[in-house]
Every structure is written in structure tokens, then in C-alpha cells.
Symmetry: C2
Subunit: 562 residues, 2 copies
Amino acid sequence: MVTRKAYISYCNATKKRVPMGVGHSSVSLSLDPISIAAFTAKPKPKTSCFFNTHCKKSVFPTKKNSLFVGFSLKFESLKCGKVAGEMDTEKGIDVANKSILDFHGIDERLIRKMEFDALVWSSLHGLVVGDRNFQRSGQVPGVGMVHAPIALLPMSFPKSHWKQACELAPIFNELIDRVSLDGKFLQDSLSRTKKVDAFTSRLLDIHSKMLEMNKKEEIRLALHRADYMLDEKTKLLLQIELNTISSSFPGLGCLVTELHRTLLNEYGEDLGLDSKRIPSNTAVGQFSEALAKAWTEYNNPRAVALVVVQTEERNIKMLHNTHNVRTVRKTLAEIDREGQLLPDGTLLVDGQAIAVIYFRAGYAPTDYPSESEWRARLLMEQSSAIKCPSISYHLAGSKKIQQELAKPNMLERFLENKEDIVKLRKCFAGLWSLDDLDIIRKAIDKPELFVMKPQREGGGNNIYGNDVKETLLQLQKEGSEEDAAYILMQRIFPTVSPTILMRDGICHKEHAISELGIYSAYLRNNEKVIMNDQCGYLMRTKIASSNEVWEINQGSSTLQTT
Amino acid sequence: MVTRKAYISYCNATKKRVPMGVGHSSVSLSLDPISIAAFTAKPKPKTSCFFNTHCKKSVFPTKKNSLFVGFSLKFESLKCGKVAGEMDTEKGIDVANKSILDFHGIDERLIRKMEFDALVWSSLHGLVVGDRNFQRSGQVPGVGMVHAPIALLPMSFPKSHWKQACELAPIFNELIDRVSLDGKFLQDSLSRTKKVDAFTSRLLDIHSKMLEMNKKEEIRLALHRADYMLDEKTKLLLQIELNTISSSFPGLGCLVTELHRTLLNEYGEDLGLDSKRIPSNTAVGQFSEALAKAWTEYNNPRAVALVVVQTEERNIKMLHNTHNVRTVRKTLAEIDREGQLLPDGTLLVDGQAIAVIYFRAGYAPTDYPSESEWRARLLMEQSSAIKCPSISYHLAGSKKIQQELAKPNMLERFLENKEDIVKLRKCFAGLWSLDDLDIIRKAIDKPELFVMKPQREGGGNNIYGNDVKETLLQLQKEGSEEDAAYILMQRIFPTVSPTILMRDGICHKEHAISELGIYSAYLRNNEKVIMNDQCGYLMRTKIASSNEVWEINQGSSTLQTT
């Protein structure tokens, strides 16, 4: 069996980079509704700044049916997809692609002005992260800060696909809620995964206990982020995954949107870009509102909101300022020490009643270094506090469930509305479990068309390219149940576009692919749906250059009005 | 003659610290109306954090006739003044002093909460500076940042004295304007200084040229900061100096006010402090407004505002966003290279007409490393652009002029309103030139009652204590004209109060003295006065502990409503 550890060794030996996942990276860069945060950035890459020395033009034609988006994802190499600049000369390329700006042709003086303004704006508006090179940045907020990695300008994204993603948000919210209520479905679907993934197994144990207790979550709160990529060849918007726990970066997304709007207000005329085409991004505000509304539903004026944080993460409460709800931050270990369950189900932490629990930690195995953390998780789950997410919501967001829901006739089990079902299915990429021998054969034959994803939340562990083949062959040879730890997914090839990325105060001209994250909030109290909205978005960009793979999280898109 | 250099050597040899001045420090920590900035903080002191382990009480009685202010100044030692905590037990102490909170008695848990919130708030709201320990922080914005040094809470300040300082602002504005028009007074008053101070001499040369040209500044713009201390024994608010060029920290002041308000909104109840008693601080907004109004008066829609910056300072234009005025930033060397004077007096820089010039540099000799910078200054002065400040305003803010104006019957030369004259004179400390042999004798006899101030703007060079005596004796011995480089000022002893200061992420309980800076804006076009307002304030704090002298610039006060 090729273990994760062995695979990393393999990558190191062959000088390959471990491919990074799309979900929660190991980088704690969070700006959250109630927990706006300080952060730890990755060590800087050795990539140096390289500008084209020639300037093509400073004004570009723009197209009205697309939105402009700048972002970055993670692939080991960008063998597929085409550079936007080359589009015009190729046959059969959709005309919409022509509207993507060649940012690399922008006048150098203008870039330097925007670069300077962007850096100062970031410093003054809290678009900052803790610099990992600075040791204390993880322990003390306010020291060793550096601007967050950003794309200087928003890149193009078709308006129709953006609208499609927004429309899917309330449907996915409803789907996840229905799935969360079907305890047997969750247990059955994950039964094989349970045997090989210790983390999922522990989550399922808690879930089982709740089923045994016949525990009902009457008030259910979800703060999701659904991630999509736009496949270049098929022009389909395809779902990558749905994050149901600790959806990261809503604050970052909003700030980058604001930064891009500021830059386009100043330089949009020179660039031929209109700041009004950047869609509004209200993720932070609406997430806060959802949490405040949940607090109201809980109906205990003396109760507070609890943010579960990682030991090395720094968070600030924002809920209080905007919605008059007091917030406390605690690690899982602290909750184990200070938590107490009253006979009526009330959770007390350090003597304070808890109305809402917002998990900024608890999604990764590393968040549970001892039994203490698991005890805390169980204690919270048993309580009457509104959990964001509950154990059922957490499990419903797993990749295995995503794959199960993609099976024929499965959506019909949970939803009645035929149109909704058609819409959801349209965004499903090919998803298979590893007991499908036919697809295994195809993947070994053409591994470049597949991604192998481990069940676990948290991303960063996906397998691409020839490694898919090698891992599958190894799994076959071992004949163990380890294959249940993975799913196979159709590999999506988004368009590669020229972009300008900023990191550690240095400007990089790179070619990047992008992922669109759509935030949504859902709140219901028994039969009453209180909120079910798309809330904002995050664009993420990944570049591959000089054998260096790095990820930029930056959340803006310019909507080209029709 | 004791030169500045020799004096520093002396201090080093005797392990004394060079006393720092009150004016512009060498630290470029500026947040300006059109140039909100990134900054370079001082290297951190070796002072460690030391908390009292006992907590007196968490709720304090407050007094309604004082405002609460936290700040810091610079004295070599705090031999005079009394610790607020001791006040109650002493006889003859004004009852108002009882209202000063003993911040050192605040519950430790509460301090840690506030400390954490303050650090995160600072990170997210741009209350940050470049960390000098991080080499690139001076060259590139957005990297190597650390929170600005702050006082955690605003300290008490009597409301009556605060009002007095505010009322003085428009009177000083008018006085400086009148003085600036009296070229002969400026030249005569500074004639002896000219012989010994090369910097003042160069400024006077430019001023002379303007007199020869009969150059008139019809539109005159001033953005001042008048600094005051409250003398503990006499209960008098006494002026320290008036900054007429590059008045620093208006943005910082506003941000700290906002931070203190946020903290008191959250924890005010526990502390017995009311956030509503913090007076509003609108320095940034009103400075921007004044600059925008000046631009309007210039009446050339195509002209831009020019911010003169230091090479190692990072500034961002804010004027554009709020008032639709485009801004360019240039160093003096760049202005020399790119500047051009049209026959009609229009200043072009890089081909762009300049309406308003705002000096964020040019106040210190080090800003003029070569003839190039002086050429730029002269070029700007000759132009029709509105200069903030003009050479006359710059000279009118010098310490020598301050001392001249304090002479009997001198104010009457410039102002008619008797009440205004009485108000001004009330805030004048004792000020003398060094040709007053009687006062020299007194100062040698009781040096602890005097401060020796060099003529030059920029602060940081004041002489205190026994060094006053030694320097005076040395000057007498040498018998040169060097004495004209200094003025003597009555030493003011403000109350020493317990305070909590934060620097480099570390909390320090210290005893501090404070200085109140009042910002004001003045704009006139010939006979029409367009603006003459107090705009906001800055409280600065200085502590002395463990032989360590450091300065905190933080600008908030809590006004205790009557």
C-alpha cells in the first residue's frame, strides 16, 4: 500500500512536489464572520520577480458576458488548458475566451503603481497574514505580519457560469440538510471508509452515539462553501467539493473584492475594466448575520457564541460589534477542561451557557492530538447548543458522500423538485468509488484524466497524473481495503490565464488556473427555514512555474454586465 | 563648544540616553490625510513585561470633569511629578487628580483579553508600522509589519484644559498666518540663528529670494499640530511647540481613538469607563478636506496634488478616494529631476500641473543630502502651487520665533483681539534666548527647571537636567555665537500616571507622562478665510523605566462628560 507518508517521500526523492488539495490547506489564513483572524502564511517561494519587458498595450477590449476573476489553484503541472493569450489564433475556441485580458501586457509603470497601492491598501485594511518566517507570528497577533498573497487584478469569468453557481447554493444547502437527517444513509455509505480511515471512524462513532440517543438537532445552521471549476473543453461548471465545516476565507474574499474595486476605481479607465462589474461580496456580513440569527433562535439572552479555535490560530470576535452577541474563543482542549453539560442539555464552558458553536478547528485529524479533544467534540455534540456544523452536517460534506450522491437516482432519494435535481446533476463531475473495476481499468490506462482524492476533509492530499496509476496498481497488488479511503474523480482542466500575483511584496507574472468558491448560509428551526442564501464568493488561483507550486487565495471577480 | 555629536558620545560614555525631543522624531510613523503611510518603528527595547501580581479592583470611580487619555513623552528621568496612585494620600493635591484610574490594578484576565483584542484590531485596521528589525520594511510596503506601539487604554485628562487647547487652535492659526506675512520680522528674528544653523540659513535664503521677487502667497494652507503639556504644580496648560510642517500622526491618532472606543464598548462596563467620553477625532478627514478645498481654490481641474515624501517612507493617496483629487508622490530629488516652472508660475512635475504641495518631507537637514533637494524646494516655492507649508509658514513654526513671540508686547504686533492675546499668553511657558544673561545664570544654578532646545525642527535633540548646566558653561567658555542655535524653555512637569503600554506584541505596565497635540487646519484665499478649525488630537506618552526611555505615539482621550 502506498501510504501518504511514503508518497511524500517518493515526491521528495523525485523532486516532485506533493500536490496540494483544494479544500482547507495547512495554512491557517482565515478571516471569518465571528472570528476574523491572524494567520500563518507559507514560507516564501524562491521564485523571483520576472516582468516582460515589452508592453503590448494598456487598454484592452472587454467582453460583456463574462466576469473578471483573478485566482489560483493547485496542480503539479499545467500540461493541459491553454494560455488565454494564445486563444485568438486557435480554431474552434469559444469567442468568450477572447474577452480574457492579457494582464502580462499591461504597461510596466501602471503595474508598479497598482502594486504599490495594493500593498499599502492591504496593510491599512487588514489584508494581512502572519509571516511563517517570523517565529512569533503564530503565537502573538499583531507581530510579524505580511500582506496576504493576492492577485493584483480580478480575472475574467463567464457571467452565466457565475450565476449558475449562485443558483446552486440554496439547492445544495437543502440537499445537505436532507442528507444530514438520514443517519442510516450516512452510516451505510461510510461503512467501508470507516474501516480504513481512523478519523472518519471517530466521527462516525460520535454520530452513532447520537443516533442511539435519538438526538435531534431542531435548529440547524450551515455555513458552506461549494467549490467549482470551469472545464475548458466542455464549458461545464463542475463541482470540486462542498465544505460543510470551517469554510475558510470569507473575510479574505471580501477584502480582496474591496481591494480590486479600489484599484479599478483608480486605474480601471487605463485598463479598460469597470469596477462596477465586480459582483458584491457579502460573505462576512451574511455569515455573521446567520450566526446572530441562530443565537436568537436559541433564545437564551445570557448565552454566548463559542468559536472553537486551533492552538496556533488567532481570532477576533466580530459578532459582538455587529449583532450584540458575545463570543468566546476556546480550543478543543480548553472545552474539555472547562465544559460541562447540564441535565437540560445546556452546554456550559467556563460557567457560560453556549448558544452557538462555530468550528474554526476540528476538521482535521491533527486537531485531535489526544482523547481530550474527542471528549470535547462529543460533549458539544450531546448538548443543545447549535453546532455549525453538527456531526451529521460534517459527515454529509465528506467526499465519499459527494460520490454516493452522484450515483444514479440518488438525488431523487432526498429531493422532490425535478428542476433542482437536473441543476445539481449538471454540475457533478464524474465520481467513482474504487470498487468500480471498470473505472479503475480506465484510470490506470489514462491516469491524466483522473484525480484520486482521499476521503478526509482538509485537502492537500490529492493524487494526480502518473501517480494515480502507480497508486491504483499498488492498491490492487496489496488487495487490502485501503482503496475505500479514496474516491476517483474526473480531472477538470480549467483555462490557463496570464495573471499578476503578489506575494511577500514581490510581483510575479504567472499563468494561473482558477477555482470559484460560493459561500452560502442555511438556518432552520424545525420546519421554519430562516435563511437559505448564497452569501458571497472566493476565487482561488494556482500557478505553476519554475517547478514551484504555490497557492494564492484571493477572492474577487469582475462581473461584466450584460 | 559641546556639539550634538559630542553630547551623544557623552551620553553613551555615561550610559545615559540621549533625551528625545517632542517634535518630529526620527521615526517616520505617519498616517496622513492624503498620505496614509507605512512606517518604520524603532528597534524594540529590551524592557521585559512585568505585571503586578495583585489586583486591586476591576471597577474604578471616575470623575466627570476630566477626560481619559493614554500617552507618552520623553524625559531622561521622571524625578518630578507624582504617581497618580499616591495622590490621595498627599495634602494639597487637587481633587481632580483622584479621578485618574490606576490601570495597574485592572484584573489580569481582563488585561489579557483587551491586549489580545487590541492586537488583532490593530492588525485588521491598519494600525501597523514597518518593523525596523525587518530590513525590507523601509523599502517595500506590506512586508515586515508590526502593530503600532499603543497605550491599551485612554488616560484621564481634564476636560477644561482639553477645551482650552481646542479653543487656542484657530487663534494660533491666525497668528502664524499674520507672522508669515511679516518677512522682515522673520528675517530679523532669525538673523543670529542663521549664522550658526546651516539648515535655517538655507531656508532663510529661499525666504529672502521670495521677498526679493515680491512673491505673494494668495492662497495659504496650514495643517498644524500644537503640542501642550499640563504642568502638575501650576495646573497650567503650557505650549511645547507648534508644528507647521509635516505635522505627523493624524491618522494614527484617529485609529487609536477608534481602537480605544472599540475596547471601551466591549469592556467599558467592567472598567467603569464610558466610550462616549472619548472625544471624536476627525484629524484625517478634516486634513483631507482642507487639502481638497485648497485644490478647489487653485481652480485647475487638470492639476493634481503633490505629496513630497522621504525616500524611505511609504505613503498612499487617500485624497482621491474621498475628494476625487488625484495625488502623486515624489521625493525632493525626483521633483528636481522632473520639475519645471512655466512662465505663468505653474509647476509641472513629470508633465503634470501641481495645485497643492503637501510636505511629508523637507523639515529636517537629512532630507537635503545634496543641492538637488534644495533646488527642488526653491522651484516649488517659486511656483504658484499652494504649498503646505510655504517657506514663511515653515519659518514661522521655528522655536526661535516661538520664543520671540513670547516676548512682551510681541503678540500685540500681530493680533488685535485682546481676549485672544490673553488666551495665547496664558499657554506660553517661559521662553528665553541665550543672550539673556540673567536667565543663563538661573539655568546654571537650577538646570532641572529648564530645557535647552535647538532651533531646528524635528525634535529629538533637547537637553535636560545637569546637561543644561554643562552645555551652558561650555558655551560661555567658548564665547562663540553657537548659543544662537538654542533657546531656553521652562521645564514642564506633567503628572505621572500608571499606564499599560503595548509594543511588539508585549504588554508593559509603566508610569507615563503625556503630551496633547491639537491638529488644526487653516485655509484662506486673499481676504476670504475658508477654513480655520481644530481638527482632532493626538496624545503622546513617554515612559521611563529600567533606564529605558521609549516613546509611544497614541492618540486617544476619554472625555468625562459634565
